[in-house]
């Protein structure tokens, strides 16, 4: 079976998704959403938007339950960290491989 990937999102799609995201709640000073009772429902709507199709009722209920857990996790993560704390990964640029022929040509 061929995998069906939903169409690419446009800027307008992203704008719509941001509006839905805003319905999750107001932003706290640390940048964390304060969840409203409707938050799992709104987040499920974002997922459906990303999928490009609605979920069936049963799956939607499971997803909403999972999202409730996710929101609870966010609350636990909501600790202040010093500005400038870098995340635990480092990007390393890949050095260019310049061929000898090209160098000689200059």
């Amino acid at each position: 079976m061929q995998d069906q990937v939903p169409r690419k999102m446009t800027r307008r799609d992203l704008g719509k998704a941001a509006l839905v995201a805003a319905s999750l709640g107001t932003l706290a000073p640390t940048g964390h959403a304060i969840p409203s009772p409707d938050a799992p429902n709104a987040a499920a709507a974002i997922i459906e938007h990303l999928l490009g199709k609605p979920m069936d009722e049963e799956l939607r209920a499971y997803v909403q339950a999972a999202l409730k857990d996710t929101l609870a996790t966010w609350n636990k993560l909501n600790i202040a960290i010093p500005d400038g704390t870098e995340p635990a990964f480092v990007f390393q640029p890949v050095p260019a491989r310049i061929s000898k022929e090209r160098t000689r040509g200059r």
Binding site: D3, V5, L50, W74, F89
Partner: protein
């Protein structure tokens, strides 16, 4: 020598018997293949046996050893690998009905290293679908069905390296390869009564192993003794240009006597609230072994206060949602056996990038502060889990409510850990002791685990399903 008598011996002992001509790799391979097909299938521990390839490699090993070319202490020893390691041109299903036809044209780095060491790959072993990346509610979340515990087939073998745990315990392989993102080696090791090593993040190349979480996945040996785990880590560890996280730090070990006065930090464990009397008694006995036989000093260990579990959960959810993005956005997602797994993967799509980065920044902040605990202690100890294996059909949401465990900090921070058997619960199911070390200090925890196993015989017990 009667082959049946050595099926439950440690891998390095099997290697010695092969080298000294007391048994052939071919005879051992034949016996294990028979047990995998009979006992292994009944336990749902097997994804696929590889009889032709295994017998060919066993005969080559026998010829090489006879000619005096010994590759390693485990030359000729048969083993199994969790079905998320690529083996060239062999189906690799990741435990998932959505990946039933998947085949890779190359070998995973760990498979290649074991082949170079002369080990004989017998089988791909069962696992929870996608290593449980989305979170799963039932043990049946696998294309092979629920993996049954060799100690009691009405109980679960643990996950996600389910088949690896069950196969080692039941005497179906000499040792096994597993992986852990959060608990997937230590949990089945504890439930099945075997010795499992979760190495430091980056110790073993992840090339060719299914990615669930690029920054948290670890590969490790699951075996019958700490000595086996040390010998296997020596073979498996090392740099690999194909995995940027693979460390070039050398792993050396000595399993000699543990020096007196070693300082062990006991992680806080709430036995009473969780109704874990058996685990409490077994853990106290284990502590006595360390204090009275090894003259170790025990102290209370408290990690600095960080939301370790929440950060680990967020990182796995986001990296998992990205790793399996193609599946998540396809109708094949519906083929996964567990609805919670499907839902968890979908929910990962809704976690904002800033939340993931917040977790990664907490991780960076916690790492240097938490590792300072190893200035106070040489290693940390705790029960791996507070209870034996749960009933196979019970919701894991229920059975995990009082299970305890210390997987969050160690996995988030990439610390090594070994789980060794330390006794049994009131239902006769194995209980595990976890010894956690500082990054790259596997030698310390394996030495402690080995010393513990010199003083106890829990690791020598064989379950009903393991008796020939």
């Amino acid at each position: 020598m009667d082959v049946e008598r050595i099926l439950n011996l440690p891998a390095v002992e099997q290697g010695r018997l092969i080298r000294t001509g007391q048994v052939t790799s071919e005879a051992l391979t034949t016996a294990y293949l028979h047990r995998l097909e009979s006992v292994g299938r009944k336990l749902n521990a097997v994804a696929r046996t590889l009889p032709d390839q295994a017998l060919e490699h066993a005969r080559i090993a026998d010829r090489e050893i006879q000619a005096g070319h010994v590759r390693s202490p485990i030359h000729g020893v048969p083993y199994g690998a969790k079905d998320l390691f690529a083996v060239r041109n062999v189906p690799c299903q990741w435990g998932s009905p959505a990946h039933a036809d998947q085949v890779f044209p190359y070998d995973a780095a760990a498979i290649q290293r074991l082949r170079d060491a002369g080990a004989v790959l017998l089988a791909k072993l069962a696992m929870i679908e996608l290593a449980g990346g989305g979170g799963y509610e039932y043990a049946s979340a696998s294309i092979t069905g629920p993996c049954l515990n060799p100690w009691n087939t009405e109980r679960w073998a643990g996950g996600s390296s389910s088949g690896s745990g069950a196969a080692v315990a039941a005497g179906l392989v000499g040792f096994a390869l597993g992986t852990e993102t959060w608990g997937s080696i230590t949990v089945p090791s504890a439930f099945c009564g075997i010795t499992g090593l979760r190495p430091t993040y980056g110790r073993i190349s992840r090339f060719g192993a299914m990615a669930l979480s690029w920054t948290m996945d670890k590969i490790g040996p699951m075996a019958r003794t700490a000595e086996d785990c040390a010998a296997l880590l020596k073979i498996l560890a090392g740099p690999d240009a194909r995995d940027p996280s693979a460390s070039s730090k050398r792993f050396t070990y000595s399993l000699g006597k543990v020096p007196h006065g070693l300082r062990l930090g006991v992680l806080p464990t709430d036995f009473a609230t969780n109704g874990a009397r058996s685990a409490e008694r077994a853990f106290q006995d284990a502590c006595s072994v360390f204090t009275s036989r090894m003259r170790a000093e025990l102290g209370e260990a408290k990690l600095p206060d960080f939301p370790y579990d929440a950060a680990a959960d967020t990182i796995i959810s986001v990296e998992g949602a990205s790793a399996f993005q193609t599946l998540i956005r396809s109708p094949k997602l519906g083929l996964l056996r567990d609805r919670s797994q499907q839902a968890g993967l979908l929910a990962g799509l809704a976690i904002p990038g800033v939340e993931y980065l917040h977790a990664m920044r907490i991780r960076a902040l916690a790492a240097p502060q938490a590792v300072a605990i190893f200035q106070q202690f040489d290693a940390l100890i705790a029960p791996t889990l507070l209870h034996g294996a749960p009933p196979v059909s019970k919701s894991l949401n229920e059975s995990w409510a009082h299970m305890g465990g210390n997987g969050g900090p160690g996995n988030l921070l990439g610390w090594p850990s070994v789980s060794v058997p330390m006794g049994f619960d009131e239902d006769g199911l194995p209980l595990g002791l976890e010894i956690i070390g500082a990054p790259y200090e596997e030698a310390t925890i394996l030495r402690l685990a080995h010393a513990f196993q010199q003083e106890t015989d829990w690791h020598k017990r064989v379950p009903p399903a393991g008796r020939p």
